[in-house]
C-alpha cells in the first residue's frame, strides 16, 4: 500500500524505498546511499542477488555471476 502524504513538495523526505533485491534493486540502493539518501531495500526471499545469483556465468565475458 502506498499513500501519498506529501506530493512534489519543496520539503521532501530524504529516503527511498527500493522494491526488489536483484541486481537492479541493489545498484539503485547503492547509488542512492552513496549520494546521501537513506534506503529501505526490501526483498521477498531471504537473500539479495535475484536471478543473477542463479546464473553460472554471464555473457559475453564468461565472468562468474557470483
Amino acid at each position: 500500500m502506498v499513500n501519498a502524504t506529501r506530493t512534489a513538495s519543496s520539503n521532501p523526505i530524504g529516503s527511498v524505498l527500493v522494491v526488489g533485491g536483484g541486481i537492479a534493486g541493489v545498484q539503485a540502493a547503492l547509488d542512492l546511499a552513496d549520494t546521501g539518501y537513506f534506503v529501505h531495500l526490501i526483498e521477498k526471499t531471504s537473500a539479495i542477488g535475484g536471478a543473477m545469483s542463479m546464473l553460472d556465468k554471464t555473457f559475453p565475458t564468461d565472468d562468474c555471476a557470483m
Binding site: M1, V2, A4, T5, T7, A8, S10, N11, P12, I13, G14, S15, V16, L17, V18, V19, G20, G22, I23, A24, G25, V26, Q27, A28, A29, D31, L32, A33, D34, T35, G36, Y37, F38, H40, K44, T45, S46, A47, I48, G49, G50, A51, M52, S53, M54, L55, D56, K57, T58, F59, P60, T61, D62, D63, M66
Partner: protein
C-alpha cells in the same frame, strides 16, 4: 538474526528435505536453510511452509543444536510503515513456465529450462558443476537449445515481445557446456533470428560458431518427442531448404523468456502504476524509468525485457531520478559513523594476539585447533593466544576488543576463514579497540585447511601451523597505514552536447551541481537533430527543443560550444581541464567527467551509395518522408538493405538500432502509400524487446522480408538513367530475385572516428575497444563507469543504442558521478602502491600495466609516481617492476619474503 553466525548446524540437523528453488527445482535443501552459500545477508532461515514444527508442532532440532541460540520460533511477520520520498520498483521477472507448450514434453526429466541448465553448469548447483542430465546422471553427448519459448509467441502465451537475452544466454550455455564436456559435445541451437545486438555480442556469436563449433539451425521446432525405450528426445525440424529432418538429443534446453509475475502486476495495481504493452510498466522513451505515478520509478526487466548491463544502467538512472526529486532532503536522513581515535603503536615491539577459530566443527572437526593454539604461543612476538568456537560471533568480537586493550596487543592474527568475507569485520573490531585496522592478518585454516584436507587431519593441522606462522611473521612487520582525505570539487564536466550529454548535465544540475557542458559544434543537439521519431513513433524534435531550452536556461549549466578539450590533469574529485573555446583558452576545475561524445553514421562505400539520389540512409529517409519529398511520394516500390557496414569482418558488431529504424520507415512508407511494395533485405531481424511489435505490424501490413547471407550479399546496379536494380538470393525460393525499387535505403552502421575518441581517451586515461568505442570498467556490473575513478560514459560513445537507452545511460552516468560529488572528501591511502624513486629507472612497465591509470611518468625526473587517490592496491605494478622499486603497502617485499621464509622453514 544478529545471533546467527551461519555455521550451518541448523541445516545439518534439520530432518526435512525440500525442493530447492535456488537450484531451479533440480536439487534439495533443508527446511532450515541458507539460500546459497554466498548469500547476503549470510543468515539461515526457517521455511515456515515446510518446517516440521510448524506443520506438526514438534521437532525444533535446529533450536536445540544452534550454538548461539539464534533460532526463535516465536518470530512473527511484522508490518512496517515507512515514510519515504520516492519508490523504485525493481521486482524483476519470472522465467516463463514452458508447461503450456503441450508438444515440448516439458514433464520429461531431460527437457529442462535454461535456468535449470544454468544450475547444472554451476559448481554450486545440484551436480556440482558436472554436466549430466537429470534422468540418469549420464553425461549428454548431444544437447539442443530451442529459442523463443515463451517469447515472440502469441499462440501458446501472450508474450509477443522478444525477451532480448535468450539468444545470448543460449550461446553462452552451449559454449560453456562445451568447455565442461569437451569439444566433442554436440550442441545445436534452433532459432528464428539470432539476436545478438549488444556490445561484443556478435563477436561472441561468431566465436561460438567458428571456434567452438556450436551448431546454429534456423528453424522453429514444433515438437519434442521422447524416444521410446531411451531417455533421449527426438526433434523434428524443417531445414532451410525445406527438407524435414529428425535428430535425437540426450538433453533439450528450452530457452525460456522473461515475463512479469502476477505478484508484480498486483503490486503495480496497488501502487497505481500503469501497465503497458507486454505487461511491462508503462514508460516513455524520453522518460525511460518514470512510471505513470510521480515519484515512483522502475528499472530492470519490469521496465521492459533486458539484460544485466541495461538493468544496472536503469537502476542508476532510477536512483538519479529519485535523487533529483529529493535533492532538497539530501543527507537529511543518513547517518555518519562516529570518529574513533587510534593508538600510536608504530614504534612498539610487536605484541601479536592470535585468535584460533573452531568455526564450530568446520575447522575443529579436522584440525587439532588446540595444537595450533599451543604452537602459536611459541612463535616470536606472540603475546596472547586464544581459541574461540566462533571468532566472528558478536560476543567474541566484544571480547576481542577487551583483550586487545587489556593485553596491550598491537598486532592481530585471526586463524579462521577467508579475508574475502571476514576481514572487514575483524578490522572494524581493531578500530574499535583503537588499533590501526591494517595491523591485522588472517590465516585461512578453514578453506585452505580443514576443507581441502578433510581426510588428512594431521596434515591439515601441520598446514594450519604453517599458515599461522606465516601470518604472524607478516603481521609483525606490518606498519600502521595512513589514510588521507582529499577534497572534492563539486562540479562536473560533460563532454558532448547531444541527447546523452545534455541529459547527464541536466540530471546533475537539477541535483544542484554546477556543470560545464562542452560541445564541439556550434549548436547543441548532436545526432538527435537528425532523428525523426523514437521506435514507438514519438517525434524527437519537440523533446529535443525542450531539452536544449532547459539546458541553456539552467543556472547551474555553463554551455561551451565550438569547444575542444586540449588537456586534462588531476584525478577523481580534482580534475583540471584545459579547453579551446572558439580559439580562446579556458580552464575548468571539476570533480567528475562524463564522456558523451556520440558516434557517427557510416557513409557506405557499397550498394551504389552516392551514385543515385534515390539511394538513402535511414536518417536521410526520415527527413525525406517528413518533407513529403517528391521521390518518396511518387515511389511505388522501396527496398531496405540491412547491416550495411555492420556485422562485417572488419566491423564485427551490430549497430543495434538499424532493424527497428528500417522497419519504422517501412511502416511509414506503407502508411503513406499502402500499395507501395516494400522489401527489407536482412540477415537477422533484431527487433529486441517490445520492438518485436513493429516487426509483427510490418509483416501484417505486407512488408516483405528477404533474408541474405554475408556470403551472398545483395547486388545493386544503378543504370545510366538512374533506375535501380537490386538482386538478392531468396532463401526460401533458393533463387535470385530481382527488384527494381524507386527508392533504396541503406541501414548504415554507427561508427566511431577513432582518432577523435583516442585523443580524448588518452587525456582521461580511459580505454577504447577495437572498434573505437569507449570501454567501460565492467561489461555487466559497471556499464557507465571507467576503471579510472571519476570518469563516466554515456550514449553512442559507449556503443550504438536507441534514444531511450542513451537517456537511461546518461542519467546513470549522472547518478554514478553524483556518488563522487555527494562526498565532501575522498579517502585515499591504505593498501596502495608507492614508488621508491631512487630505485625507479623509468621503464614505465608499471604505467602500462596499471588497470586504473593511477601511475604517471614524470618526464622531468624520468621516474614514475603512483597517484594514491586512484590506486586500488591490486599490486600489479609491484609485481611488474623489474627493479622492485614499487612497494604495495601492507604487502611489502620484506613481508612477503618473511612469509615465504616461514613457509619454507618447516
Amino acid at each position: 538474526m544478529d545471533k546467527c553466525i551461519a555455521c550451518g548446524t541448523c541445516a545439518e540437523k534439520c530432518p526435512r528435505k525440500v525442493t530447492d528453488e535456488y537450484n531451479a527445482g533440480l536439487g534439495k535443501r533443508k527446511a532450515a536453510y541458507v539460500k546459497f552459500p554466498q548469500a547476503v545477508p549470510l543468515k539461515y532461515v526457517i521455511d515456515k511452509d515446510h518446517c516440521i514444527y510448524f506443520e506438526k508442532g514438534k521437532c525444533r532440532a535446529c533450536e536445540k543444536f544452534c550454538p548461539t541460540q539464534a533460532v526463535n520460533f516465536d518470530d512473527q511477520d511484522r508490518e512496517f510503515t515507512l515514510e519515504v520520498g520516492s519508490v523504485i520498483l525493481a521486482p524483476g521477472f519470472e522465467p516463463f513456465d514452458p508447461g503450456v507448450y503441450d508438444t515440448y514434453s516439458y514433464s520429461h526429466p531431460n527437457v529442462i529450462t535454461s535456468m535449470e541448465f544454468e544450475r547444472i553448469l554451476s559448481s554450486s548447483g545440484p551436480f556440482e558443476g558436472h554436466l549430466v542430465r537429470p534422468s540418469d546422471h549420464q553425461e549428454p553427448k548431444k544437447i539442443a537449445w530451442l529459442q523463443c519459448v515463451g517469447s515472440r509467441d502469441i499462440h501458446h502465451c501472450d508474450n509477443g515481445y522478444c525477451s532480448g537475452v535468450c539468444c545470448m544466454y543460449a550461446i553462452k550455455e552451449a559454449a560453456i557446456a562445451k568447455e565442461h564436456a569437451g569439444a566433442d559435445l554436440n550442441t545445436a541451437i534452433f532459432f528464428m533470428d539470432m539476436r545478438t545486438p549488444g556490445k561484443d555480442f556478435d563477436k561472441y556469436y561468431e566465436r561460438a560458431k567458428a571456434e567452438k563449433g556450436v551448431r546454429f539451425i534456423r528453424s522453429r521446432v514444433h515438437s519434442i518427442e521422447p524416444l521410446p525405450g531411451t531417455d533421449d528426445l527426438a526433434i523434428q525440424y524443417v531445414t532451410e531448404d525445406g527438407r524435414i529432418t529428425e535428430e535425437v538429443f540426450n538433453l533439450v534446453v528450452l530457452s525460456v523468456g522473461l515475463q512479469i509475475s502476477k505478484d508484480t502486476l498486483e503490486l503495480a495495481e496497488k501502487l497505481g502504476v500503469e501497465i503497458g504493452d507486454g505487461r511491462f510498466a508503462a514508460t516513455s522513451p524520453f522518460q525511460p524509468v518514470q512510471t505513470s505515478r510521480t515519484g515512483i520509478y522502475v528499472c530492470g526487466v519490469f521496465q521492459s525485457p533486458k539484460d544485466i548491463p541495461l538493468s544496472v544502467m536503469e537502476a542508476s538512472a532510477a536512483a538519479a531520478e529519485s535523487a533529483t526529486l529529493l535533492a532538497p532532503a539530501r543527507n537529511s536522513l543518513t547517518r555518519k559513523p562516529p570518529e574513533l581515535s587510534e593508538k600510536d603503536v608504530a614504534a612498539q615491539e610487536p605484541r601479536v594476539g592470535v585468535f584460533v577459530c573452531h568455526c564450530g566443527v568446520n575447522i575443529a572437526g579436522v584440525v587439532d585447533v588446540e595444537a595450533v593454539a599451543d604452537y602459536a604461543e611459541t612463535l616470536p612476538g606472540v603475546a596472547y593466544v586464544e581459541r574461540n568456537l566462533f571468532t566472528c560471533a558478536q560476543d567474541t568480537q566484544d571480547k576481542m576488543k577487551q583483550i586487545i586493550e587489556e593485553h596491550n596487543l598491537n598486532r592481530i592474527v585471526v586463524a579462521a576463514c577467508s579475508p574475502r568475507t571476514h576481514e572487514a569485520l575483524f578490522q572494524e573490531t581493531l578500530k574499535q579497540a583503537g588499533l590501526n585496522k591494517y595491523l591485522f592478518e588472517m590465516a585461512n585454516i578453514r578453506n585452505q585447511g580443514s576443507w581441502v584436507h578433510m581426510n588428512e587431519p594431521e596434515a591439515a593441522t601441520e598446514k594450519a601451523k604453517d599458515l599461522v606462522r606465516m601470518a604472524v611473521a607478516k603481521v609483525a612487520l606490518q606498519q600502521p597505514l595512513g589514510e588521507m582525505q582529499l577534497g572534492v570539487t563539486k562540479s562536473a564536466l560533460v563532454v558532448g552536447g547531444g541527447i546523452a550529454g545534455m541529459t547527464a548535465a541536466l540530471t546533475l544540475a537539477d541535483q544542484g551541481y554546477p556543470v560545464t557542458l562542452v560541445e564541439r559544434k556550434d549548436v547543441l543537439g548532436g545526432h538527435g537533430r537528425k532523428l525523426y521519431s523514437t521506435w514507438d513513433g514519438q517525434p524527437v524534435a519537440p523533446f529535443l527543443d525542450e531539452l536544449i531550452k532547459r539546458v541553456e536556461a539552467h543556472p547551474e549549466i555553463t554551455v561551451l560550444t565550438k569547444a575542444r578539450i586540449t588537456d586534462v590533469q588531476g584525478f577523481v574529485g580534482n580534475f583540471h581541464t584545459v579547453l579551446d573555446v572558439d580559439g580562446q583558452r579556458r580552464e575548468v576545475d571539476h570533480g567528475v567527467a562524463v564522456i558523451a561524445v556520440g558516434a557517427h553514421s557510416l557513409k557506405p562505400d557499397e550498394y551504389g551509395y552516392g551514385k543515385s539520389d534515390r539511394i538513402f540512409l535511414n536518417l536521410d529517409l526520415d527527413q525525406a518522408i517528413g518533407e513529403r519529398d517528391e521521390r518518396i511520394v511518387t515511389a511505388r516500390s522501396a527496398v531496405f538493405i540491412q547491416c550495411v557496414g555492420s556485422r562485417e569482418p572488419d566491423r564485427p558488431y551490430c549497430s543495434r538500432v538499424c532493424c527497428s529504424h528500417s522497419i519504422e520507415n517501412a511502416l511509414r512508407l506503407k502508411k503513406l502509400n499502402p500499395d507501395m511494395d516494400v522489401y527489407v533485405l536482412y540477415r537477422d531481424i533484431r527487433t529486441f524487446g517490445l520492438r518485436e511489435n513493429l516487426y509483427k505490424e510490418a509483416r501484417a501490413r505486407g512488408v516483405l522480408f528477404i533474408r541474405f547471407d554475408l556470403e551472398n550479399k545483395p547486388v545493386v546496379q544503378v543504370a545510366s538513367d538512374g533506375t535501380l536494380k537490386v538482386t538478392v538470393k531468396d532463401h526460401v525460393l533458393q533463387r535470385p530475385v530481382v527488384l527494381t525499387p524507386d527508392i533504396l535505403t541503406l541501414a548504415g552502421a554507427i561508427v566511431m572516428r577513432e582518432s577523435e575518441a583516442d585523443e580524448l581517451a588518452k587525456m582521461f586515461k580511459v580505454p577504447v575497444n577495437a572498434e573505437g568505442f569507449f570501454l567501460e570498467a565492467h561489461a555487466k556490473l559497471r556499464p557507465v563507469d571507467f576503471a579510472t575513478d571519476g570518469v563516466f560514459v554515456a550514449g553512442l560513445a559507449h556503443y550504438p543504442k536507441p534514444t531511450e537507452e542513451c537517456i537511461a545511460q546518461a542519467k546513470a552516468a549522472a547518478s554514478r558521478a553524483a556518488t563522487v560529488l555527494a562526498k565532501d572528501s575522498i579517502t585515499a591511502g591504505g593498501v596502495v602502491a608507492v614508488v621508491n624513486k631512487d630505485l625507479c629507472c623509468g621503464c614505465q612497465g608499471c604505467v602500462q600495466c596499471c588497470p586504473f591509470g593511477a601511475i604517471d611518468y614524470l618526464e622531468r625526473e624520468g621516474k614514475c609516481e603512483v597517484n594514491q587517490a586512484l590506486c586500488k592496491g591490486c599490486g600489479t605494478c609491484a609485481a611488474t617492476c623489474p627493479s622492485e622499486a614499487i612497494t604495495l603497502l601492507g604487502f611489502s617485499h620484506l613481508q612477503l619474503y618473511a612469509q615465504i621464509d616461514e613457509a619454507l622453514s618447516a
